[in-house]
Assembly symmetry: C2
Homo-oligomer: 405 residues x 2
Amino acid sequence: MAVSINKNFLKLPGNYLFAEIARRVDEEQKQHPGREIIRLGIGDVTLPLAPAVVEALKQASEEMGRQETFKGYAPYEGYDFLREKIASEDYGPLGCEISADEIFVSDGAKGDCANVQELFAPDARIAICDPVYPVYLDSNVMAGRTGKYQESTGMFDQVIYMPCTRENGFVPELPKEQPDLIYLCFPNNPTGEAISLEALQRWVDYANQTGAVILYDAAYEAYISNSQIPHSIYQCQGAKTCAIEIKSFSKKAGFTGVRLGFMVIPKDLTRDGVAIKDLWLRRQGSKYNGVPYIIQRAGMAVYTDEGKRQIREQIAYYMANAAEIYQGLKAAGYEVYGGVDSPYVWMKTPGGITSWDFFDRLLKEAGVVGTPGSGFGPSGEGYFRLTAFGTKENTQKAIDKIKNM
Amino acid sequence: MAVSINKNFLKLPGNYLFAEIARRVDEEQKQHPGREIIRLGIGDVTLPLAPAVVEALKQASEEMGRQETFKGYAPYEGYDFLREKIASEDYGPLGCEISADEIFVSDGAKGDCANVQELFAPDARIAICDPVYPVYLDSNVMAGRTGKYQESTGMFDQVIYMPCTRENGFVPELPKEQPDLIYLCFPNNPTGEAISLEALQRWVDYANQTGAVILYDAAYEAYISNSQIPHSIYQCQGAKTCAIEIKSFSKKAGFTGVRLGFMVIPKDLTRDGVAIKDLWLRRQGSKYNGVPYIIQRAGMAVYTDEGKRQIREQIAYYMANAAEIYQGLKAAGYEVYGGVDSPYVWMKTPGGITSWDFFDRLLKEAGVVGTPGSGFGPSGEGYFRLTAFGTKENTQKAIDKIKNM
């Protein structure tokens, strides 16, 4: 008998979203060879790394070339210099008492979001926002936690889907069935909407009452502009006994191709009498070999005065694009959300047409590429995402074209 | 009901090996404060990065700082430039037809070794060499494949342990029970012994007959000096239908703190009618975000004429240490293995004493730190590992001290 594959992989819906987008764009380009097509569908940054970061990378590279300063294996949990900096700079000012030994440096939020489920029981019941970043669901499908996929609904049997639509202000209601693991992502990808401190506190209270653990993905935190919006779940009372927080340098400092993030697992978060942070350390010790020294040094540069200023300018640039998209679409009569505390603008498709029909219309009539909301979950149907990560010039041009549609 | 943890984690034997070594060394140092203690226990490189690699890191960092050359998310499977280089430089000269699209770049062999099991059935039966690098076992313990741990034997119920001792020349015999996944590591960590092409061919034939998949960890391949020893499992007939190979830049080019490796999954490797390489791509697409551009560029520098020369010098330096250790111990009357095709020297403890007793004796009488063989598996009892990654001066001093014990 030959070894069998992990059959859970076969339940994964094909990774067709971006492939299908590429196919339709190619076809359009073939039909109209000279035509300019502007891509506002991408979730990747486009500005180059800040000079302070480049300088730190070069300096650390030189350190690696000298006997006295060479570094071999990094600590699995990250260098203390970076963990301490994160604790003091990211959490201190928020009034959250998070210590360096509760911070676990990684190569980015995606891996952390995907791997954290390993610490919990194979039959744990998960709840996810709908629509949402697909990694939470897909990592649990592979782990066998999601039951069967129902073609008719686009949903898995054993997953608790929490719709986030204009009807509830894009913030999920407490679920009727009790979940074990609750994935929350705010500011949200794709809706671009944030959660208030009061609403988040309700989730923290619920988790503490039920014993569920919240996995809080705050990858877009640096884009929050409204002073009332929490930057961390630990701004809520009692979050340290029920929540893990995941943050990233990818969107904050343009590190999508550099790879740096971290997870916060408070010491007070225990289940079955075991500290979850100890499980994570054991996991990392057996499966991971640490973030490169030069990249952790690049992370440090983000916290220098120069680095902070340069990063602020990058975020301001993208957020000016977001405002341009938001205002432009609004002026053109569309119903628009997000774009204020995140780089994503989320719009209702006009006249109730499907996400993919609107995709085609936008592509053919305006030469603009966005992302169909239905690609992020069943409740994303009838919505559409545009991102602020393009250039200023292209963003303005795209909005002008949409206005003239 | 609160969420439960993954109880498989509780089956993991404590990660005590290196902690216990550190504790005993500390104690010795406290009792004899001025005494010099030389560490030959570590598996981490100590020479700085080759100048060609440092230069590549700095150049790529500058590229990341310019708009025209900035790179965001890397392809999950690695940049084509590196995959093509690996195919032509690492496999071409061996006569193995491995194409770029069968190569999957990663942040190192450890993660690949730990993650590859996810592609196979939850009840797949694993076979491991004993003694061996602990990651193969530990990643399967966490995944729930190993059954119960038996304190009395130091073994898990459901795991097929394949002893590698002086009696069988440190190459395992074909197992009596049929495994689904066979982890082989050659040149081996910790024994330092390699496998011949004929012996490896027997394993390939066995896997093809039974439908098992071989996971071949060749992380120490660059240290092979004997021209008869295979550098890749694909030098065996038929390996493409039964074997995945894992390689690393860590020991080859001193990248332990840089993080770069790759896995080869041939297109012809299928199970249940599915190409294993497609499963891996799907896994990486959902859980991983690619190796940083600058690090893939550093990998390219290893293949330049200058880089090759510098890397060869590093390996020669470590292998001179290995020879010093091997010859020195032999001259002192010890029974010694390894050290010819790998940076590890494996010795029999004298007079049948335990690995830990020999550790204590070496520490107290010679002031030298090594690694007890029993830390790598039950069949490692009565053996001891010394590594060639120290400085030339310290290695010579340590051997002189052992000789004078």
